[in-house]
């Protein structure tokens, strides 16, 4: 018998050309002695070939996508006889590929969702940040794609998917290259790298700073000016180093490179952002925002024609009632929580409700009809699992019924039932362009939709910006009645199929006006 795990290791090393002479001898003896070993070896080699084949064929497919990484050019080699059928075959096999055109814009478009494989970090904090033109403009909670981040001021905390945490102090330019690799062109960063993320690397011109499980700071002030400070653990320096240069820096060590001249200096923790101070600054900022919001919320309650207002503050698990805070609202319009759990909102101290289970909802009831209606909600979409993810449904089966939802492709959709019949054509509809991509999951946004029965127009707004509008062909009176926030009642016969329409995410404010708010009002309430 042979040691199968050992055979696997040796085979793997052989295929990666890593075998030492002794190991090669050992592998050969195993293969000669056992038919089973040969069988395993050939099988692994075949998978190796399949992976290479996949990579070669994959290149051909990737050429279709502009964002694809540059394929390696595998040229024809020798043999002029390779023409005709052989060329056709080669192209089909992906052996020969034209070079890929250079990408036109290395910057990132905020609205364009990068494929998941292109995302490398989470923007965990942004304090007092001013983004530079073309250097991204991301919200806290955004998944950051590969590419440049440029800020003229402020502080960012980037949580790389490798586990490394980087605090970047502006003015700064950093290029995110992979979950464990970044290029610092300008600015100061502090990287804290827990053991699982060991190997996290920051590049600056010719220098590669490779972390060995530690905390270090780096300050790049020009093309030839760079400092590396090690606060804890060890850092390895790679690249074109002078012969005398240290290849490794330990706790308390630092180097300064100015115009190609290297100098050892003591590490200076104080010249870099203190992670605790960054955290405290973030807490202070969020506290100030929360207090400002509370003040605004008091004024909001007194706005004219505000019918329903939930702020989701001060909720306790198991507490079923949510007060309707609209001025003059009576108890009968309070909401009832079904299933949802109290969770934090935009700031740690802000309350919100989490919608996760398919039964989760807040039920409330109002009455009457109105020609116009405005719905506003501050929401965090966590995923779009259903084909219809309802923010609100109201007055089921009645003419004037309202559906307010995000469809699975991330478009905001309004439906107003204009006729009683069970047909697609019975509804007035307004669909927005895509407002939620996978990249927006976990990001807070304010959604508003206006039905203006007098002007005969419907409008969608995201974060105060109008993103869609359309005339109404019919102008049914909007029916107020039984409403579900974050869900809908699946009782109507036309909804026999596809009846799970629950919302997945958080809501921290919801309001309903019996008039059409204008764009200026919506911007002001953003």
């Amino acid at each position: 018998m042979f040691d199968e795990a050992r055979l696997e290791r040796l085979t793997s090393a052989y295929l990666d050309q890593e075998l030492t002479a002794e190991e090669k001898h050992e592998l050969e003896n195993m293969l000669l002695a056992s038919s089973r070993a040969r069988e395993i070896f050939l099988d692994r080699a075949e998978w190796h070939g399949l992976l290479r084949e996949q990579a070669l064929q994959g290149h051909a497919a990737l050429l279709m996508a502009a964002d694809a990484p540059a394929p390696k050019i595998v040229p024809f080699r020798r043999k002029a006889a390779w023409l005709g059928a052989a060329i056709a075959a080669c192209v089909a096999l992906g052996w020969w590929l034209p070079p890929r055109p250079a990408p036109e814009n290395p910057g990132m478009a905020k609205q364009k969702a990068a494929p998941a494989s292109e995302r490398v970090a989470l923007l965990a904090q942004a304090i007092d940040v001013t983004w530079e033109e073309g250097g991204g403009n991301f919200d806290i909670g955004s998944a950051l794609p590969k590419g440049w981040l440029k800020i003229s001021r402020g502080t960012l905390r980037l949580d790389f998917y490798s586990g490394a945490r980087v605090i970047l102090e502006g003015p700064a330019s950093i290029e995110l290259l992979s979950p464990d690799l970044a290029r610092l062109e300008k600015g100061k960063l502090t990287a804290r790298v827990p053991p699982p993320a060991e190997g996290f690397t920051v590049i600056s011109s010719d220098l590669r700073v490779v972390d060995r499980g530690t905390e270090f700071g780096m300050n790049v002030s020009g093309a030839n000016d760079c400092e590396v400070h090690v606060f804890d653990g060890e850092v390895e320096l790679q690249g074109e180093l002078p012969a005398t240069a240290e290849k490794a820096l330990y706790q308390g060590d630092a180097i300064s490179i100015r115009e190609g001249r290297w100098r050892s200096i003591p590490a200076n923790r104080g010249s870099f952002a203190d992670p605790a101070a960054v955290l405290i600054a973030a807490v202070r900022e969020s506290e100030a925002q929360w207090i400002a919001w509370q003040k605004a919320s008091q004024a909001f309650r007194k706005l004219s024609d505000l019918k329903v207002y939930f702020d989701f503050e001060g909720l306790h698990p198991g507490e079923p009632l949510i007060p309707n805070l609209a001025a003059g609202a009576d108890e009968s319009s309070h909401g009832t929580v079904i299933g949802c759990d109290p969770v934090p909102g935009r700031w740690p101290r802000k309350g919100a409700l989490g919608f996760g289970k398919t039964s989760d909802r807040v039920r409330f009831r109002t009455s009457g009809t109105t020609p116009s209606l405005t719905m506003m909600a501050r929401v965090r979409v966590d995923s779009l699992p259903q084909s219809h993810n309802h923010l609100l449904s109201m007055a089921p089966e009645k003419v004037g019924e309202v559906h307010w939802k995000i469809d699975q492709s991330g478009r905001l959709v309004l439906g107003v039932r204009a006729e009683a019949k069970l047909a697609y054509g019975a509804w007035e509809r307004l669909e927005s362009p895509q407002i939620v991509t996978e990249q927006d999951f976990g990001r807070w946004m304010q959604l508003a939709t206006v039905i203006d029965g007098e002007q005969g127009v419907m409008k969608h707004f995201v974060d105060g910006r109008e993103i869609a509008s359309a005339p109404m062909k019919r102008r049914p009176a909007i029916q107020l009645g039984l409403a579900n926030l974050g869900n809908f009642d699946a009782s109507a016969p036309e909804f026999e199929r596809n009846t799970v329409r629950s919302f997945n995410g958080r809501i921290e404010e919801f309001s309903l006006f019996t008039r059409a708010l204008d764009a200026a009002e919506i911007v002001a309430l953003k």
Binding site: A13, K24, E28, E39, G49, E53, W82, A85, T201
Partner: protein, 182 residues
């Protein structure tokens, strides 16, 4: 009179059919060549030479007989020829071992299209670090020391990552193939 498009002769049609078979078995042939010559770039050359021989000798292949067995003989011959000519820059196994391996199995898998499609799906399931290692190894033709340099980690850790990633991908594809059968 309208001109007839040039018609393929019977011989040309036969050659095209044999070339089609080669495409079908190409990943398996490549795996076999790589088992003898781990160097991707020499293996690519040898693959092209095998294709040339297959094209030239297509007439001697009888449709209906085992194509894998036929192409394997050619592949073995061309790979050994390259090794004997000293073209390999990397260590190859001794001729005795290559003989033993050659005698081991006569058939290649013909279900490579399915495996390739499933492999593409399984690659998506890999952890980012592993995915990058696999890309650098197979797309960029980098060896572990280069990958270690690019990823800022050690060669042994790259070896482990690659080895685990391959095992994961193999299991993943086989699992999906099993699932597809039920």
């Amino acid at each position: 009179m309208p001109q007839q498009p040039p018609r393929m002769t019977q011989e040309e049609a036969h050659t095209a059919a044999v070339q089609g078979l080669f495409l079908q078995f190409q990943p398996a042939v490549r795996g076999y060549v790589l088992s003898m010559i781990p160097d991707f770039s020499l293996a690519d050359d040898v693959m092209q030479e095998i294709f040339l021989v297959v094209t030239r000798k297509a007439a001697s292949f009888e449709i209906g007989t085992s194509f894998p067995a036929w192409v394997k003989t050619i592949a073995r011959f061309k790979a050994l020829e390259a090794i004997r000519a000293g073209r390999s820059r990397c260590e190859t196994l001794s001729e005795e071992v290559l003989q033993a391996l050659g005698a081991e199995r006569s058939e290649f898998h013909g279900d490579t299209d399915e495996r390739l499609a499933l492999l593409a799906a399984c690659l998506q399931e890999l952890a980012p670090q592993a995915r990058r290692s696999i890309d650098l190894r197979y797309k960029q033709d980098h060896l572990p020391p280069q990958i270690a340099g690019l990823m800022g980690c050690t060669v042994p850790s790259v070896n482990v990552t690659l080895s685990r990633a391959r095992a994961f991908l193999r299991d993943c594809v086989l699992r999906k193939m099993d699932a597809a059968k039920t």
